[in-house]
Symmetry: C3
Subunit: 362 residues, 3 copies
């Protein structure tokens, strides 16, 4: 494809766009910020972060805002698209073009998959993906990596239980995809058979040096874990209400299950939690999900500082444009008609470069 505005900037659309060296540099920087936050106050003086939240996610937005303010920068943005002229009849390209002339860096959250990449293509500044529909949420995974680095001292050779909705859980897929790149990690997938991870995630593990096992009981799994990553299971995801009533307590972390766990277990959760972790567990020193949220500020500080001081360039499209509509109706190429769909081709399988849905070439 030809030139586009977003060329020449470093974006974070997908954590896999960054090299392992870049991940490590960001994690190291986050650790330094955690140690001595005051050393970094003022480094972003005169810089502006735009937080464009097309769907509300107050916590993530406040984490980004805090990160920029703690670096001495400033913040503009919106969190209220229904009430915003930006969302009324203006396409994503125009909004991004304009706001990227106001701000030095943008964090975008959008309900449509692939929208962060589409935004990056038209931006005059770096774009950070703060969640694009059910697709990616790389700063959550970066937060998880920073948390493990601080709390376990490493991101390799860990036995990591993932519990709950492993089928639809975006953060679970993203965490596995990241952790399999470090040697010696073992994944314990704890869910009902209906809610286990999709095949493409299992394939990712098998391509790596890591391994996985599947198990349906949290109580059976927990004694063997270094890390337990809890996620919420929505009632609608069970086969029936009867099934839900029968199974829900199996996937609730309570004090009894905590008694079965190692003394150095690290319990994480992307939050918000509903009832999948009992409140009584919060007092357990192994319950680290609130610390994890606070480490997210350091992860975002490090990311913003790296991107704005070191620059670089993120290639956005590597495949070719085809006159084939993406099969994912929630893909940004289906919502904004001026965006041409691009695909990576592998035999007769086309993978959309925006939302990563796959279809057979017809």
């Amino acid at each position: 494809m030809g030139a586009y505005a977003g060329m020449g900037y470093k974006h974070l659309i997908d954590l896999n766009d960054f090299t392992m060296e870049e991940w490590k540099a960001i994690i190291d920087l986050a650790l330094q910020m955690h140690q001595k936050p005051k050393d970094f106050l003022g480094l972003m003086h005169g810089k502006i972060l735009g937080t464009l939240f097309y769907e509300p996610s107050t916590r993530t937005q406040m984490s980004f805002q805090t990160a920029m303010l703690r670096l001495g920068g400033q913040v503009i943005g919106f969190d209220n698209p229904q009430n915003s002229s930006v969302a009324k009849g203006e396409n994503l390209k125009d909004t991004i073009t304009i706001i990227s002339n106001y701000a030095d860096i943008i964090a975008i959250r959008h309900p449509v998959e692939g929208s962060a990449k589409a935004a990056a293509m038209h931006a005059n500044c770096p774009i950070i993906n703060a969640g694009d529909g059910g697709h990616l949420h790389p700063t959550q995974t970066l937060t998880d990596l920073v948390t493990l680095s601080i709390e376990k001292g490493r991101t390799d050779h860990l036995t990591i239980g993932l519990c709950g909705d492993l089928k639809y859980g975006r953060t679970v897929h993203s965490l596995i995809s990241a952790m399999r790149r470090f040697p010696g990690n073992r994944f314990v997938l704890i869910s009902t058979p209906e809610l286990t991870v999709p095949q493409f995630v299992k394939d990712l593990i098998q391509e790596s040096e890591c391994t996985y096992t599947e198990i349906s009981s949290l109580a059976e799994a927990i004694p063997h874990l270094d890390v337990l990553y809890m996620t919420r299971v929505q009632r609608e995801r069970f086969a029936s209400l009867k099934e839900y009533e029968r199974l829900k307590s199996v996937y609730i972390l309570d004090e009894a299950k905590m008694r079965l766990a190692r003394p150095d277990l690290c319990v994480l959760h992307p939050l918000p939690r509903v009832d999948e972790i009992e409140i009584a567990v919060d007092n357990d020193p192994r319950a680290l999900y609130f610390k994890q949220a606070s480490y997210g500020v350091y992860a975002r500080m490090a990311l913003i500082l790296k991107i704005l001081t070191e620059g670089g360039e993120t290639p956005l499209l590597s495949g070719c444009a085809l006159d084939v509509p993406c099969s994912n109706s929630n893909c940004i190429t289906r919502r904004e008609p001026y965006i041409r769909p691009y695909y990576r081709e592998n035999g007769n399988i086309l993978t959309c470069e925006f939302c990563e849905h796959q279809q057979k070439r017809s």
Copy 2:
């Protein structure tokens, strides 16, 4: 009760948690800020105020924001709970735990009584109560004290008329509770018999060195006043619409009544006003309610600066946990089931430590 996160911080939940010396120190600091605001710019550099407004109160929120910005600090927060993921299915404890790791100090406004104290119990930073339902609004009272200190030069030996809805008016109860602690104050309670102050407020005055009289006519009362504190009377609070029509003008401050008043009368109002003060009165130099609003910024600046520079600790619970639900259905202990109700016991009377409602032990 056992340890809780909010131990070890100085909070402002109820103005009575502060000693008279602390009040005076804050008022003195506010007076200095009013004199030389530029001396204080920059003292909160690098600090972040979180404004968590679970119900909209734009003016109070902007007053807090202005206070923090004028001290050189920064602000994060939300004002739009319906549109906020924070309010969707996340309990107060989790939100406060997380945001108190982002911010250095939090101002919380919440429609449920006792919520500020509940927030303080789970916070990793100081909490300021910016209004918890019909219960407390201590920074309004602090604003009133600062206003009298600036405009009258003192907070004692004043004849203070309070006019309007004295039964349900939170700011009225709080102001009386504060002013009775200074010697020589006389309260003139101006209302219909149905809307006079509750007995517990009269008891507070009688326990003090101050006195009160009750009167139903503003015109008769006004010539004797140093201070007139106006509040709104909602139509629904009158016995009937007929009664409202007959009485409403009695409690409206107009130019005619102002002509009966002393030349140094000080007219205050917590704002917003509806029609209980005629607009023509605004031009009278004795109408100080807009100045009062601007002094609120100095009161909040002084409060934030004191708490963040001097620290200290506010004890939150002094009674004991009982398996008795609070009789107030709008108490935070009734809304968030993980909060155990605590009571102070006096004979067979239980006073809830969150919302201060009283009930007989059954």
Copy 3:
């Protein structure tokens, strides 16, 4: 009329309140800021801008916010009047009186005509009109002047095409009113006969040293233009749906029409655009509407800096108060009854000093 609070401040209600020398000084300052933005960072340190947006206009609000932050100042405000206590039962006077004690300068957007002038009358700080209903939007016009100064090097002796809805387009009227004050400008009014500029705008041109022609074809007009100012035509503005279908493509700027234009044509648009400029045109170097949006930040920076450093005074009312209601039902004098209508009298024609609607004296 007697004294009012807003006396003694420099406001921007209508661009015509400023002298040509003041315009030029602001434009020159904006050009310097465009050249060396870092020279201006910090000049507004310690100052606060209040952005009071009674109707959402996210882009304009973010432009103002960016301008103030890039000068080192801070921002408070609201954008969400439905959710705001400010908008509930509080009159404009009270809100402005209070917020103007918090902020050093206020930008107000309001759906009611004349509201910016009414706000200025009660403000204890300078007021900038960020749009008052269909009436004025002077910072858009200032943005247009800055854009022409940067991109064409001048604001005089230009042939300026204005295309689209010239009848109701506020920015079109305001731009003509400004550009006619520079010598040698020629206006080419491109629209259907039903949507051409109102007679009062033609009169403004004829009173000046400038000229205009009217034409119904964009393709015929475009070869002769130095500047093309595109605006949106709403479907409802056409005589019929049939007429709309027949004519809409005539007023859409596409690549074919761009091929007819001069190599140094400057295409502007106040944005947001809907479909009146095809997206393919965005890649043409003559498409300057996104740059124009970014120049708006410099225009607003220059305006804020001038007003807050040089002061001055804007006279608000020059006519006399009459007990005649304004004939415009969307005039602020009809919405807020404490505001007396003021009129300039010319024979038996009364011109409202708030909304500028004219009526015959009866």
